[in-house]
């Protein structure tokens, strides 16, 4: 399925400074649905070019990273269990502290 992945707040630096990635990702291991858990693994393997610890901690994103599925906090859709559909937009954004 086609997904748009966006990185912001400095996370784009981990993937060659490219903010928007149009990608094609299929459900893993013959499963019917693609979950956010699968997508994180896919992103870590295929998009993150350096310092993966700045993106993930354990099997989820590191503290300070907001994940938005179609402009909605993934806490509201089941976090790692959120299932994705064709043409979904997933945003990973690091919280900023500067001013």
């Amino acid at each position: 399925m086609q997904l748009t992945l966006e990185f912001g707040g400095g996370l784009e630096l981990l993937c060659d400074s490219v903010k928007i990635h149009k990608v094609s990702v299929e459900p893993q291991n013959g499963a019917e649905m693609l979950t956010m858990k699968d997508l994180l693994t896919w992103v870590r393997t295929n998009l993150i070019k350096e310092r993966p610890e700045m993106f993930m901690k354990g099997d989820t994103v590191r503290p300070g990273v907001l994940v938005l599925v179609n402009d909605c906090d993934w806490e509201l859709s089941g976090q790692l269990n959120t299932t994705l559909e064709d043409k979904d937009v997933v945003v990973f954004i690091s919280t900023l502290h500067g001013g």
């Binding site: 400095g10 350096e50 590191r62 503290p63 300070g64 690091s94 900023l96 502290h97 500067g98 001013g99």
Partner: protein, 466 residues
């Protein structure tokens, strides 16, 4: 020539003397203003019950059914003409009090608008002084205030825009020990700070005191904005229960920032504060605004509500004032509250040399290679002669360049091999680089203490600093 130099030093002395006099005058003005406010407060604002400052009111007797004076009506007429804002919105604003923490890139426009719009009492907390490298974004300050406290500069600018509101100067750093006392004097708080521990501390204090918090942040070409602890909405900790690693916290002084970006976010913070203070409109609570300046994109996303597990604001949490005051925010976030840069000490003394020692070795013609591990775009701003730029992240892949440079330098200087020195901006990354170089066999590599900044301070003050 000599007399010319003599004139210059005389002029400098006179400038210093005048500056000292100006500081004295400022102090006296502040004291007198405080005295005046005391008197006007005693003389008839007893009717104000919630502790908010209320400007002198005479309109009530004028029979218009509201408390705006003719001067207020004229000054704020364009607000009053807005059907959705009107007399009630302005009247609410005039009775409100707002605290802005930080008079920097975000605080500058926020304060200017909050003063102009007629917030009754406007507090400013900041402990920094105005520097030349602030001027491109901290537009509340003017060149004549360089070297003087930001609070003084910002307060003077606010007063010159609107002399009819009360401006309160808090010339101190906000800490867990004074935050309750300062923040409790205001209806709502604007977080315009620049570091993670301050953000947790301000949010926690707002929860403990039950105050809404308008939170903005900006680094590089991006900004973020939301309202916390408003009407049952989430607090900062609901979103970020665990602090990020300190290496993930970019600072404007390291990563850079396009001046207008915090300007945009600071203006939006003023807007949210005005909406809350005037009770007009729908504050950005439970939502977050993400601003990407480079692609001209603003996205407003829905964020989680108050977390049931939140250690500070959930119903089950019992985070008291006492706990707040004892909480160690610097330890919690592994980041200092002050904006002073990190000073690592990773190496033994014999693996480091001072910039003065390094200068001596150049003068003595010692065969050596100087590796500058700063990012390429830093190197382009300023660098030392004959230095080799290998940014820290690419050090591992480019070690062979160091080997061949050492070999070449050793041969041409027909001596016992060349020395290897490592330089960066402040002397932290150079230590990390030397640690790595030691590990892979360059056991005599040394870092230059204090980096380019140390060199500029101790050896060559004419080197441009950034």
């Amino acid at each position: 020539m000599e007399s010319k130099y003599g004139d210059a030093s005389e002029i400098r002395r006179e400038i210093e003397a005048l500056k000292a006099t100006r500081n004295d005058i400022d102090t006296r003005i502040s004291a007198l203003e405080a005295q005046l406010q005391e008197i006007s407060l005693q003389n008839g604002n007893d009717a104000v019950s919630n502790g908010s400052f209320c400007p002198p009111i005479s309109g009530l007797e004028s029979g218009f059914g509201h408390d705006l004076t003719p001067e207020m009506i004229y000054r704020y007429s364009r607000h009053l003409l807005l059907p959705s804002f009107g007399v009630q919105g302005q009247s609410n604003l005039l009775k409100s009090s707002v605290l802005v923490v930080g008079a920097g890139g975000l605080g500058s426009p926020a304060l200017l608008y909050l003063a102009a719009c007629g917030v009754g009492r406007l507090g400013i907390v900041d402990n920094d002084v105005v520097e030349l490298n602030n001027m491109h974004r901290q537009i509340i300050h003017t060149e004549e205030y360089i070297g003087r406290p930001k609070v003084k500069s910002a307060a003077a600018a606010c007063r010159s825009i609107n002399s009819t509101i009360k401006i309160v100067e808090h010339k101190e750093a906000l800490r867990a020990s004074n935050a309750l006392e300062i923040m409790s004097q205001y209806d709502l708080v604007v977080d315009a700070t620049d570091n993670a521990p301050s953000r947790y501390m301000i949010s926690d204090c707002c929860v403990v005191l039950g105050k809404p918090l308008v939170s903005g942040a900006a680094v590089g070409l991006e900004g973020q904005l939301t309202v916390y602890n408003y009407n049952g909405g989430p607090c900062y900790r609901c979103l970020f229960p665990t602090p990020p690693p300190s290496t993930a916290c970019q600072r404007c002084s390291d990563s850079g920032v396009l001046g207008v970006v915090p300007g945009v976010i600071g203006c939006l913070q003023a807007l949210e504060a005005i909406k809350i203070a005037s009770a007009v409109g729908e504050p950005l609570s439970g939502r977050m605004l993400l601003f990407d300046a480079l692609s001209a994109r603003i996205r407003i996303v829905k964020i989680r509500g108050r977390s049931l597990q939140c250690e500070v604001c959930s119903e089950n949490a019992s985070f008291s004032k006492e706990q707040f005051q004892e909480f160690d925010y610097e330890k919690f976030t592994q980041t200092p509250l002050s904006s002073s840069p990190l000073k690592l000490n990773l190496l033994q003394a014999d693996s480091r040399i001072s910039s003065k020692e390094y200068k001596e070795r150049i003068v003595n013609g010692e065969a050596h290679v100087l590796v500058d591990v700063r990012p390429k775009h830093h190197f382009r701003i300023v660098c030392l002669p004959r230095s080799l730029n290998i940014p820290l992240p690419s050090l591992e892949a480019r070690v062979h360049e160091i080997s061949s440079a050492l070999e070449k330098e050793g041969k041409t200087n027909s001596g016992s091999g060349a020395q290897l020195y490592v330089l960066c901006r402040r002397g932290n990354d150079s230590q990390r680089a030397v640690q790595y170089l030691h590990k892979i066999g360059f056991t005599s590599a040394k870092d230059i203490v204090g980096g380019l900044e140390g060199w500029a301070r101790d050896v060559d003050p004419s080197l441009p600093m950034y």
